[in-house]
């Protein structure tokens, strides 16, 4: 997004000045990066054409910063300004100028430019990869098919992924791509084979996509997701076939059960429920019997070195079944969810599924069963328990106070995300003391809540209270200052930065239980 010559562009009147007139190279570079991040138009008249001036800067870093900006926001007319840098003495500048010109052309005419890149065997720099990602949806099938022949595994994978997503990856192409060096390419090829009803068995798909730790089949470092290709395979299978895969109790069985839950719960929910009530005992017994029939006398690897793979898959099936019930709970499932709550670290996903289910099928009386998990060593379980408590509690204020008092990052993440989702402002009263908490992350979470829900005058009052207290944490005042005074596009950028900052915690807190964001 590039800002127009709006009021907001006036808010950044200093930005072009810093880029062109500031003596310090680091500041000029930073100002360029910031312009790129917020999309302030420094190539236009409103921005004093500062991006073009920066192309002539004596500093290589500044020139590269200007090229980065133009690659993302530059118009076609910028190319004539960039072209002189194609003969620049510095190789980085030269290479970046070339990529930037391609990126600008690609924005204007994606197919023509992409074909030229492929035909010319142009090396794929990060600038070009970004441009490809940005324009992928605009490439036509012919262009995407050309991408499959490029030397870059990244470009081949992007092409294969997009073609498969559109249903345009032909059978001959897919058959060719399943032997590609890139596992990512192979992953998409197997999905395409599924579309053409030509896929091998799930076991074979997994085998071909899994890398061997000692002898990787690919020279590239990217990894594939066999679960995705197998799940895609199961998404095309009928219920009876899926049950046959469940009964195998191999490494794909839980994915088959998940597909059953997602697509056929109405007709298969009770069977899943019964299997869970039996803890998949009968199916496990039968699977072991089949295995023993096939190789009765040979002691297998697992009996000596580890857990029986059938038992491992049994646990996965248990989790998949609980997840299915959590998505479609009935009152009778409440006891199942409570039964399978586990404090074992190996059963994190199982417990999360139970807590998720209880949050929908449970009652306030179940809180004592949930509460112990608020102190689980697993951040994800803690967060799920907090989320469950918030759903079950009759006295929301009391439970909020209790959760906030825990001063646990994942629990506070849940409190903030949940109350933000409910658009509640009353939680501020309880979160406010956290502004002076010694944990940096907790203060940041409290600030994120405050800057999201408080009115401007309320936020200003909080800022002044902090400053007048004579003792405060710097990041609190800095975050409030940003929220109060930074222009809208900068605020949006800062909010994105905060979300990135909390990305790891967010992933932990919403593991197998999506639906909440900061």
């Amino acid at each position: 997004m590039v800002l127009g010559a709006s009021m907001e562009s006036k808010d950044f009147c200093w930005l072009p000045w810093l880029i062109t007139s500031e003596r310090d190279e680091a500041t000029r570079t930073r100002a360029l990066d910031f312009s790129t991040q917020i999309g302030f138009p420094i190539h236009g008249r409103a921005g004093g054409k500062a991006a073009y001036a920066a192309l002539q800067d004596q500093s290589v870093a500044v020139r590269l910063g200007a090229l980065k900006y133009l690659a993302k926001h530059g118009p076609l007319s910028a190319i004539s300004e960039i072209r002189p840098l194609l003969t620049h003495a510095d190789d980085h500048v030269k290479e970046s100028a070339r990529s930037t010109i391609h990126a600008i052309h690609m924005r204007s005419n994606p197919n023509k430019e992409m074909r030229q890149v492929v035909k010319g065997a142009i090396p794929l720099t990060q600038t070009l990869i970004d441009a490809v990602n940005e324009n992928l949806a605009r490439f036509n099938v012919v262009t995407l098919e050309m991408c499959l022949n490029h030397s870059s595994p990244v470009l081949r994978a992007r092409g294969a992924e997009e073609l498969q997503r559109r249903g345009n990856l032909s059978l001959p192409a897919a058959l060719q791509l399943v032997t590609d060096d890139s596992r990512l390419v192979r992953e998409n090829a197997f999905c395409a084979l599924t579309d053409h009803a030509a896929a091998p068995t799930p076991t074979e798909i997994r085998r071909q996509l899994s890398s061997h730790p000692l002898f990787p089949s690919s020279v590239t470092r990217e990894t594939a997701n066999p679960d995705r290709a197998v799940t895609y395979y199961f998404s095309k299978q009928p219920a009876d076939k899926l049950w046959s895969f469940v009964d195998l109790l191999d490494e794909n069985s839980h994915l088959a059960l998940r597909a059953l839950s997602e697509r056929f719960f109405a007709t298969n929910g009770q069977i899943i429920r019964d299997a869970l009530a039996d803890d998949f005992e009968q199916r496990t017994r039968e699977a072991k019997a089949r295995r023993d029939q096939q190789s009765p006398r040979i002691p297998s690897y697992f009996t000596v070195f580890g857990e029986d793979p059938i038992e491992t898959e049994r646990r996965n099936l248990r989790t998949a079944a609980l997840e299915g019930l959590a998505d479609n709970p009935s009152d009778e499932d409440r006891s199942l969810f409570k039964r399978f709550l586990s404090s074992e670290l190996s059963a994190v996903d199982q417990t999360i599924a139970c807590l998720r289910g209880l949050s929908r099928a449970g009652v306030a009386a179940d809180l004592p069963s949930v509460a112990p998990f608020l102190t689980s060593p697993s951040s994800s379980v803690k967060a799920a328990a907090a989320r469950c408590c918030l759903e079950l509690a009759k006295d929301l204020t009391a439970i909020l106070k209790e959760l906030i008092a825990s001063k646990s990052e994942p629990i506070l993440w849940i409190v903030v995300a949940t109350t933000l989702k409910r658009r509640g402002r009353q939680t501020w009263e309880h979160l406010k003391p956290l502004l002076s908490d010694e944990n940096d992350e907790i203060r940041r979470l409290a600030c994120l809540y405050a800057t999201s829900v408080l009115l401007r005058k309320e936020l200003l009052s909080e800022l002044n209270t902090c400053l007048k207290s004579g003792w405060y944490y710097y990041n609190v005042v800095t975050l409030f200052d940003r929220a109060l005074y930074a222009p809208a596009s900068a605020r949006a950028h800062f909010k994105h930065e905060e979300q990135l900052h909390f990305e790891k915690l967010s992933n932990e807190a919403t593991r197998n239980w999506p639906g909440l964001t900061l």
């Binding site: 003596r23 910031f34 200052d481």
Partner: protein, 320 residues
């Protein structure tokens, strides 16, 4: 070409026993004016009872007009305290000093320097009524330590002491004038928006609150230096925190633009935020703070306040 002269008015107050020193001061001022009037638009105007135009009414009232207009009041005493000049029972010197001092209390002006010519010990042991008053005044001011205070032995020593002081004072004024011009000229590419009707082309409006407050601050700092209140260990207490932050900010913004790139530290940026409501900043200072914030990767330096609703037209001078 017509040149506008800036006059620095110095009033010399002394009883009649220091005529030789008064004459010496006049010669020193003439010498300084000869140099400075060639190199700058500054000159010193020396005022005293002998310069007062004749007129009706009490003579001291006419002299007091000059006292009230003075930028610098030099009080000089030796043996005599002087004679009363009217119904208030004060001597000419006493009335002039009190008047200048009262104005200084109210307005921080004029600058006041006190000089005492040494008294031989034998006279000190048996002072007459005049000298007794001089000694009492001297003791009071010595104890108060509120004004620049010096002693001298004779007219040669007087010359030696007063000349550099006057030179320095005038240089300070000239420098301050240059600083003011620098403030205005330091934003050649940031032209004031249409909000000001008095903006000068290519510079900050000369009457903008930001420049005016900076000028007042530098004046106060200069005064504090002249009176030594800012250079004594406890003197800085007279300078409040907001003014200290502004001085630091001004100096840092000059330094970063001229010598080496610097940013405000965490404490300094937070101090500026603390005093944000009372600080009226120039474009140069704002840019400095914004730069500080932009380069803050530790999330500890607030400062978007300074960018908030700041309007300036940009001319980066790119030829394309």
């Amino acid at each position: 070409m017509q040149q506008q002269i800036t006059v620095f008015r110095v009033f010399i107050a002394s009883p009649g026993d220091l005529n030789e020193e008064r004459q010496a001061l006049r010669e020193i001022v003439d010498g300084i004016n000869q140099i400075f009037s060639r190199e700058s638009n500054w000159r010193i105007e020396l005022l005293g009872w002998e310069d007062t135009l004749p007129g009706g009414g009490r003579p001291q009232d006419l002299i007091n007009v000059d006292v009230d207009n003075a930028d610098l009041f030099i009080g000089c005493l030796w043996r005599r305290w002087g004679t009363t000049t009217g119904s208030n029972g004060k001597t000419g010197f006493e009335e002039e000093f009190d008047r200048a001092f009262e104005r200084r209390i109210k307005t921080s002006e004029p600058e006041i320097w006190l000089f005492f010519k040494d008294i031989p010990e034998d006279e000190r042991s048996d002072p007459g009524p005049q000298l007794t008053k001089v000694l009492a005044f001297r003791e009071r001011e010595e104890n108060a330590k509120r004004l620049l205070f010096q002693r001298f032995t004779d007219v040669t020593d007087w010359r030696r002491r007063i000349a550099p002081l006057l030179h320095r004072q005038l240089l300070r004024l000239v420098t301050r004038g240059l600083q003011r011009q620098n403030v205005e000229a330091s934003q050649p590419q940031l032209r004031a928006g249409s909000t000001s009707s008095t903006s000068s082309p290519g510079g900050q409006p000369t009457n903008s609150p930001a420049v005016a407050s900076l000028v007042a601050l530098l004046q106060a700092a200069s005064d504090g230096l002249a009176s030594q209140s800012l250079v004594s260990f406890s003197g800085s207490e007279k300078f409040d925190n907001a003014r200290c932050v502004r001085l630091l900010l001004f100096a840092a913004s000059l330094y970063t633009g001229k010598i080496q790139s610097v940013e405000f530290g965490t404490h300094e940026a937070n101090s500026a935020c603390w005093h944000r409501a009372s600080l009226k900043l120039t474009g140069q200072e704002r840019i400095f703070l914004i730069k500080t914030v932009l380069l803050d990767y530790s999330l500890t330096k607030p400062g978007w306040y300074w960018a908030h609703r700041w309007r300036a037209k940009i001319s980066v001078g790119y030829p394309g």
